[in-house]
Amino acid sequence: MTGAMNSRHPFIHLFFWLFVLFSLVPFLLVFMVSISGEESILKHGYSLFPSEFSTGAYSFLFNDFSTIAKAYGVTIAVTLIGTVVSLLITCLYAYPLSRPDMPFRRTLSFFLFFTMLFGGGMAPWYLTYVNMFGIKNTLLSMIIPNLLLSAFNVLLMRSFFSTSIPDSILESATIDGASEWTIFKSIVIPLSLPIVATIGLFNVLAYWNDWYNCMLFIDKQELYNIQYLMTKTLNNVQYLIMKAGSNAQAGEQLAKMPRETVRMAFAVVGVAPLLAAYPFFQRFYISGITSGAVKG
């Protein structure tokens, strides 16, 4: 690392360190505000170098963690179920498309591909789900609409199947009398774990970060996911303590609330799991998006 720093391009590194700062400072600012004393914020405003530190915001948040815990529960449940089901449907649709001898292959490809070219728009889509299928205020509304199957992911997976699984293996398995299901389960999927893992990661991120479906389909606060609870709290920090309970109690809590720092502490709590996991999946994620863009 130091060797590279001493290379003959100091300006390149200077440029990149500025870019690193540009990428990271916003996160740092939010974190610093969250550990600032409320007094110092009111006096001096947000600062990257607060004059006074306090964990007051976090103790306020953790004092009654049930709202946040519930929202995390929803996010985790939706992410787990959604990712697994989505992977299953994606693999099942992509594999037949990768078989050159498959009847209706072109039709099935086009049926998928056309959805990338044209859509009915948001209002008909919303009414389909709400009026025809009645999924408002259910967990399903955060799992199914738009997120369950991405045409792009199917195409990625199909090209992996057709380039990485040798026909000879499939043929010899057929000759040995293996059924299509057995071939799919015991040969195709085990040979395709890299793409399954990549698309699984894309799914996890999509479900974890989703607030759009929650905003459209969920009115009940107990079903909010963490992202939508964060949206509500950004606009009105009192939202965190506005849940049930007597008004007197809420008013008392409200008076004690260090508003500015609590808001940012909640942002930290909301983004922390993703940032903590990032070092472990970043290399994998980078190879995923580059293989997708270059091959797909």
């Binding site: 060797g3 998928l112 859509g119 728009g121 209002a123 008909p124 299509e180 940032l275 990032y278």
Partner: protein, 321 residues
């Protein structure tokens, strides 16, 4: 004689149908595999496509979509006679044009410079740091922006008042600043992602070109303009044309969450997607919302076809379809 021919034809047809049936039977398992995906596409994509008739109707909830009265082109007339249609189209297109130019230039610069770095570890550190903004949700971005811009204690106003002795600015009610702010926010979130894609394309270039160029005494700059850029041009072209073909689409989160849906900002931050949402959810005007959505879908459809034609003319192998 004739009957014999007929019979022969029938037998042929029979064998053809039965061959077809045999094929269906043989591939039964594979066909069944596609059923969950098919059902999903029908529900999520094809039924809503049928729903575009809403744009030509006045929806009344008690009658349902099918039985609601037709209104012809009224929704479209209303939309295109209002100043909104022009403003949202202008905003969407202009933002996208600036996004494409700024992000592409910046991403190419970063990609080319990363390629100049020798140390593997530091190069990887840069890449993963630049990609970090891409993985967080727009809600988190809205918090980060709020940290800089909120009126009472945001970092920008603090610096303005404390060090420059200027008045603080009510960022969330001054529409004029937002075209700049959103370009910066969008670059912050997406330029790193694009640069990684371009960097991957650069790595894919055969090293022998550079060696040959060095032997011929080509400078770094010359190598960049004569080898790197021309050889990754197909990738640049595809990424750019994909972006151009969705020039009427916008990132709803960027324009709705990051602006905190602030009313005074609407003139400069309302795009087709936020308009469609506001018309439906806030005004309850399903017809108008559908009309704007259909307008967006149809124009995008033709833009994609056109973009694909353009790519195909340039390089047959890299066309989308």
């Amino acid at each position: 004689m004739e009957t014999a021919v007929k019979q022969a034809a029938e037998v042929r047809r029979d064998t053809r149908t039965s061959a077809f049936l045999r094929k269906l039977k043989k591939y039964r398992a594979l066909l069944i595999m596609t059923v969950p995906g098919l059902i999903y596409l029908i529900i999520n994509n094809y039924i809503p496509m049928y729903g575009v008739i809403l744009a030509f109707k006045t929806l009344s909830y008690d009658k349902g979509i099918w039985n609601s009265p037709w209104s012809g082109l009224d929704n479209f007339k209303f939309l295109f006679n209002s100043p909104d249609a022009f403003i949202i189209t202008r905003n969407t297109v202009l933002y996208n044009v600036v996004f494409i130019v700024v992000n592409t230039v910046f991403a190419l610069l970063v990609a080319i410079l990363i390629n100049e770095i020798k140390g593997k570890a530091i190069s990887r550190f840069y890449q993963s740091t630049f990609l970090l903004p891409h993985i967080v949700s727009m809600v988190v971005v809205a918090y980060l922006v709020y940290g800089f811009l909120n009126q009472d204690s945001g970092l920008v106003n603090t610096v303005l008042t404390k060090y420059f002795h200027k008045d603080s600015i009510a960022w969330y009610s001054e529409a004029g600043y937002w075209p700049y702010i959103l370009v910066i926010v969008n670059a912050w979130k997406n330029a790193g992602y694009l640069s990684i894609i371009y960097f991957a394309a650069i790595i894919g270039i055969d090293k022998e070109y550079y060696e040959a160029a060095r032997i011929d005494g080509a400078t770094r700059w010359k190598q960049m303009t004569a080898i790197t850029l021309p050889l990754i041009m197909p990738v640049i072209l595809i990424m750019t044309l994909m972006a151009v073909s969705s020039i009427l689409r916008s990132d709803f989160g960027l324009f709705y969450q990051v602006t905190m849906a602030s009313g005074p900002l609407i003139p400069t931050t309302n795009t087709i997607d936020t308009f469609v949402y506001r018309a439906m959810v806030q005004l309850g005007d399903i017809g108008m919302s559908s009309a704007a959505g259909l307008y967006q879908s149809v124009v995008c459809f033709f833009l994609i076809l056109g973009a694909n034609l353009a790519v195909r003319r340039y390089d047959k192998n890299s066309s989308l379809f």
